[in-house]
């Protein structure tokens, strides 16, 4: 332990309560960190690729999640180790930035750490390794740009986009109907995309799920689906050309924030108050009616009396609609959210061609469809499936597919998948390594080896001989100068990824390499871990 003495031989206290803290220093610390990072990567390794396996995660409350989405697994894994937490962060940032490739980035980081361990054994200073990695990652990213291809698509030609989404979906449990889901995802993205600015606002796509039916029943709705029903059972269930008043105030007498009291001391006062109250309800409903609304959507509840008045005046209403949904409805129908009855004006009403209530199965589940909206840019993907877990997993998969489609719209460069890009980069990195004098050369080579680990994991998961397959593909790439050879995971018979139509986005791949390198650099730089021991 860190102990220092003054000139009289008395110990200084450097760390308060140091005997209660466990501490790892120097090489030990690095090794411990590396092994923790590797352990996390090992968990995810089997989930990589189209034949990757799923994990069951049981939350503290006993709920079960089944997924092979890297970010979801790590998020719910409840890790305690600091370095493992870094890996979780890594996967999360890939998820936020790109939305896909969350498993790959962790596997990549794990491989880099493993290589670094070997170099540390040889006595290479961690900072030198980190610098070597940095250089190598720059080479790899440049090389990726080199082998990337531009990718033409338009509003009428969405086929290439569908293909890319299919690559993403093929690793998920939903791959049975990846074609239809990919089409749904692409159509959804195209509906909300701004092709001029190359921007997609994914907030406009709502993914709603309901247990029951088949996965094939999943549909894209050009409008909004709300899991609510009409406030009064006898209101019309089908409204054409609806004019929607979107309210955030309850149909109730006002409740001022300031504390106040209304004193009743005479019979007359009692009666006037009663009349006023009745008039209040009447006014509220009348205001909605006056501006021409044919449907009221309210964030709050209604009083029984208000409810009946609405029903009576033939004004259908929906209550307790959540804030996010309310906003979406406002965007879709082109209406304004109105916080007070006094501010209702005809211009603030939203418009929708059709509002209908639809019921499902044998239970009393009902949902409200708002379709043919004024602003057709908000869409809903409505997921059906055999059970809750399938639906959750489908939602996650669709989210990934949406992100991929968005990335392509933002930047239409692609690289080929199936490990071909990694192998090609690894060849390029290793070729470049020789040009660097000094110790970094070793680190750069190690980086190249680490890149190989992704195709290796792919081959392993697909039940192929990993080393044999990898070396065959590598030699083929070098011999033919063809950067599009990858691992044939689906046993199609060819390993040219152009023929298999397996692509990934360039930015996704670049981001993976950059993020993984950054995290590994950070882990390598840690040489002292001080943590409180338990008890």
């Amino acid at each position: 332990m860190a102990l220092a003495f003054d000139e009289y031989g008395r110990p200084f206290i450097i760390l308060r309560g140091q005997e209660q803290k466990s501490r790892l220093r120097g090489l030990d610390a690095q090794k411990a960190n590396i092994s923790a990072g590797k352990a996390v990567a090992r968990i995810l390794r089997t989930s990589l690729g189209p034949k990757g396996m799923d994990k069951i995660l049981q939350s503290p409350d006993g709920d079960v999640t089944i997924t092979n989405d890297g970010a979801t697994i790590l998020e719910q894994m409840d890790v305690d180790n600091q370095i493992a937490k870094l890996m979780v962060e890594l996967s999360r940032s890939q998820d936020y930035e790109i939305g896909d490739g969350t498993t790959g980035v962790v596997v990549m980081a794990g491989a880099l750490l493993e290589q670094a361990e070997g170099l540390l054994e040889r006595g290479i200073h961690p900072i030198r390794i980190a610098e070597g990695y940095e250089m190598a990652s720059r080479i790899a990213v440049e090389h990726l740009e080199h082998i990337a291809q531009k990718f033409e698509f338009g509003v009428s030609n969405i086929e290439p986009l569908v293909q890319t989404c299919m690559t993403t979906l093929s690793s998920k449990i939903v791959n049975r109907c990846k074609r239809s889901l990919a089409e749904i995802a692409v159509k959804a993205v195209m509906a909300v995309a701004d092709l001029e600015r190359r921007d997609v606002n994914l907030d406009l796509i709502k993914v709603e799920g309901k247990v029951g039916g088949k996965l094939e029943d999943t549909e894209l709705i050009h409008g909004i689906v709300v899991d609510k029903d009409m406030s009064h059972p006898q209101m019309p269930k089908h409204i054409e050309d609806a004019k929607i008043a979107i309210l955030t105030c309850p149909f109730e007498p006002p409740k001022p924030k300031t504390k106040h009291k209304v004193d009743i001391d005479t019979v007359e006062k009692f009666q006037t108050l009663r009349l006023q109250e009745q008039k209040y309800f009447d006014d509220m409903v009348q205001k909605c009616k006056d501006v021409g609304a044919t449907l009221v959507i309210c964030q709050w509840g209604f009083d029984d009396e208000a409810n009946h008045l609405l029903m009576h005046r033939n004004l259908p209403a929906v209550r307790w609609v959540g804030g996010v949904e309310l906003e979406l409805i406002a965007i879709a129908t082109g209406g304004r959210i109105v916080p007070r009855f006094q501010e209702l004006t005809p211009e603030k009403l939203g418009k929708a061609g059709l509002v209908r209530e639809k019921s499902f199965g044998t239970t009393k589940d009902r949902m409200l469809y708002i379709e043919r909206c004024a602003n057709s840019r908000a869409v809903t993907i409505f997921v059906r499936g055999g059970n809750k877990m399938i639906i959750e997993e489908t939602k996650r998969s669709i989210h990934d597919a949406l992100c991929v489609a968005r990335n392509i719209i933002r930047n239409n460069s692609i690289v080929y998948g199936g490990g071909s890009a990694e192998i090609s980069c690894s060849i390029a990195v290793e070729a470049a390594a020789d040009k660097y004098p000094g110790v970094e050369q070793y680190a750069i080579r190690a980086f190249g080896d680490a890149l190989d680990s992704i195709p290796m994991a792919l081959a392993e998961n697909s039940g192929l001989q990993p080393i044999e397959t990898l070396s065959a593909v590598r030699s083929q790439q070098i011999k033919d100068g063809n950067a599009y050879c990858g691992i044939d995971c689906n046993d199609v018979g060819t390993n040219d990824m152009r023929e298999q139509n397996v692509f990934e986005t360039l930015i996704g791949k670049q981001q993976q390499i950059l993020l993984a390198t950054q995290v590994v650099k950070m882990i390598l730089k840690i040489d002292d871990v001080i943590s409180p021991t338990d008890y």
Binding site: I56, I66, Q76, V79, Q234, L273, R274, Q278
Partner: protein, 527 residues
């Protein structure tokens, strides 16, 4: 060293084979649990709740059994979930779906032990499921055109569904009840308009279908017990002295006389409200909320029948059948739609008095009154009847019908076997396994009936080798019989849902190679 502390304390992680084993075993345990309830001779289970009262349920409904279990195994939860969804979506086949999924996993376990990769098994299962579904859809019968035949189909389906339930003794009686009730709906699946009332006493045979609507409430004292050509106002309003809804209002008085005055005003207000209600020209008033003594007296004076505290479903249904609207304000009597019915009277079922509305406007609604020896019997009877109603209402939409008694499984198994022979590669093992899993359903039915399943299944197989066979297991006589003659039918929709959800669930569990269990949340110990 550091790896030991990757997870929080108490969190566990199971990998690879061990994880797969754990999920297989969990799923199979659940399947075995409900297995004995399958088929007409299936046994029931007693479920005792751990809550207060330790209430007891006796059932053989798969969904009900599984819903009440406390399960810790994640794979088992998947199975519980599919059975729940099956219940919500088609209403029946909740046991079959779990048993089939369990058998698929049992077969998969053997394949995994024989070193076949789970992904290969999955792709084999998928091919097999697709093939089985095609085989089924080719063999369906559709009698939608012929109303008479269709009705007899419905009757058969209802009898088949009920034969595995407690109602099997009187299945014809109940099948007729269910079919009549569903036919009244005229194609809608809204089971809400079929009301089931349970009254202990009498025997199951005494159950009957009533064309009108029965409300389990009493008529207020001193009010007419019988009204012809009733005009009904259905309301949801507070009939006590209304609270002033304006926030912050309170009564402040300085003398007793003032209190009396205000009380008088309140009473006056109440009287006014009642007057307004009576002003609608009604002779029956049904409220969701309580009607207190004072207004009740006023109604009695006016000769109006007032029914209080009808539950929410009750008034919605009543409003639906009588064609009235649920009112909460009473200022515009001319525009409120009133409900009508020919006759309201008080009837006695067993010892209880109920209110019976007959000759209602909407012909769709009806009430089934269940009688039975005990509450357990009634509860179970209700569940069985609910299953039958669900299946029937779904069949009305999708009128395709299959034979029952293990016939569909044998048909599918035969086709799937064909496919296995044609498929090259390791997948064919999985396809073969799928067909074995399918056959296990008739096997279980036979086993549960105490028959020699090996012998019967072999016979069935031989029968099915002929084209257009109608052979299935006749549990009553204990032999192979012609299902078309015996009139055992099942709905196509149910079978298809069973097949697809079971395959989906098996696939999901097969794909798992790791289970990570988080540390259970610590509960505050209040003991």
């Amino acid at each position: 060293m550091a790896i030991d502390k990757l997870f929080k304390d108490d969190a566990t992680e199971e990998k690879g084979e061990r994880a797969r084993m754990a999920s297989f075993i969990g799923a199979m345990a659940i399947a075995d649990l409900v297995k004995t309830t399958l088929g007409p001779k299936g046994m029931d289970k007693i479920l005792q709740s751990t809550g207060r009262g330790h209430s007891v349920t006796v059932t053989n409904d798969g969904a009900t059994i599984l819903k009440s279990l406390h399960i810790d195994n994640p794979a088992a939860k998947v199975l519980v979930d599919i059975s729940k969804v099956q219940d919500d979506e088609v209403g029946d086949g909740t046991t079959s779906v779990v048993v089939l999924a369990g058998e698929l996993l049992r077969e998969a376990e053997k394949l995994v032990a024989a070193k076949i990769h789970p992904m290969t098994i999955i792709s084999g299962y998928r091919m097999a499921a697709e093939c089985a579904r095609n085989a089924l859809s080719q063999k369906v019968m559709d009698n939608k055109e012929d109303a008479e035949k269709f009705k007899s189909d419905l009757m058969k389906i209802a009898m088949t569904t009920l034969s595995s339930k407690i109602l099997s003794q009187d299945k014809e009686h109940f099948a007729k009840l269910a079919v009549d009730a569903v036919m009244r709906l005229k194609g809608s699946t809204n089971l809400e308009s079929i009301q089931i009332i349970k009254k202990a006493g009498g025997s199951l045979k005494d159950s009957f279908l009533d064309e009108g609507f029965i409300l389990d409430k009493k008529i207020g004292i001193g009010q007419p017990k019988r009204i012809e050509n009733a005009k009904i106002l259905v309301a949801n309003t507070a009939m006590d002295t209304d609270k002033v809804k304006i926030y912050g209002a309170r009564v402040r008085v300085d003398s007793m006389s003032r209190v009396a005055q205000i009380e008088g005003a309140e009473k006056e207000k109440m009287r006014e409200k009642v007057q307004k209600i009576i002003g609608h020209g009604i002779n029956c008033f049904v409220n969701r909320q309580l009607i207190y003594n004072f207004p009740e007296e006023l109604f009695a004076d006016a000769g109006v029948l007032a029914i209080e505290h009808a539950d929410f479903d009750g008034i919605e249904r009543l409003a639906l059948v009588t064609g009235g609207e649920i009112a909460s304000t009473f200022d515009n009597p001319e525009s409120v739609k009133l409900g009508h019915c020919k006759l309201i009277e008080e009837i006695m079922i067993g010892e209880d008095k109920l209110i019976h509305f007959s000759g209602v406007e909407m012909g769709q609604a009806c009430t089934i009154v269940l009688r039975g020896a005990s509450f357990h019997v009634l509860d179970e009877a209700e569940r069985s009847l609910h299953d039958a109603l669900c299946v029937l209402s779904q069949t009305v939409i999708d009128s395709r019908v299959l034979l029952g008694g293990g016939w569909p499984e044998m048909v599918m198994a035969k086709e799937v076997d064909e496919l296995a022979r044609k498929t090259p590669g390791k997948k064919s093992h999985a396809i073969e396994a799928f067909s074995r899993a399918l056959i296990s359903i008739p096997t279980t039915i036979a086993d549960n009936a105490g028959l020699d399943s090996a012998e019967l299944i072999a016979q069935l197989r031989a029968e099915h080798h002929k084209e257009e066979s109608h052979a299935g297991i006749d549990v009553i006589s204990g032999s192979v019989g012609d299902m078309a003659e015996l009139g055992i039918s099942e709905a196509f929709k149910v079978k298809q849902a069973v097949l697809l959800s079971a395959t989906e669930a098996a696939e999901m569990i097969l794909r798992v190679d790791e289970i990570i269990t988080c540390a259970p949340r610590r509960r505050e110990d209040r003991m």
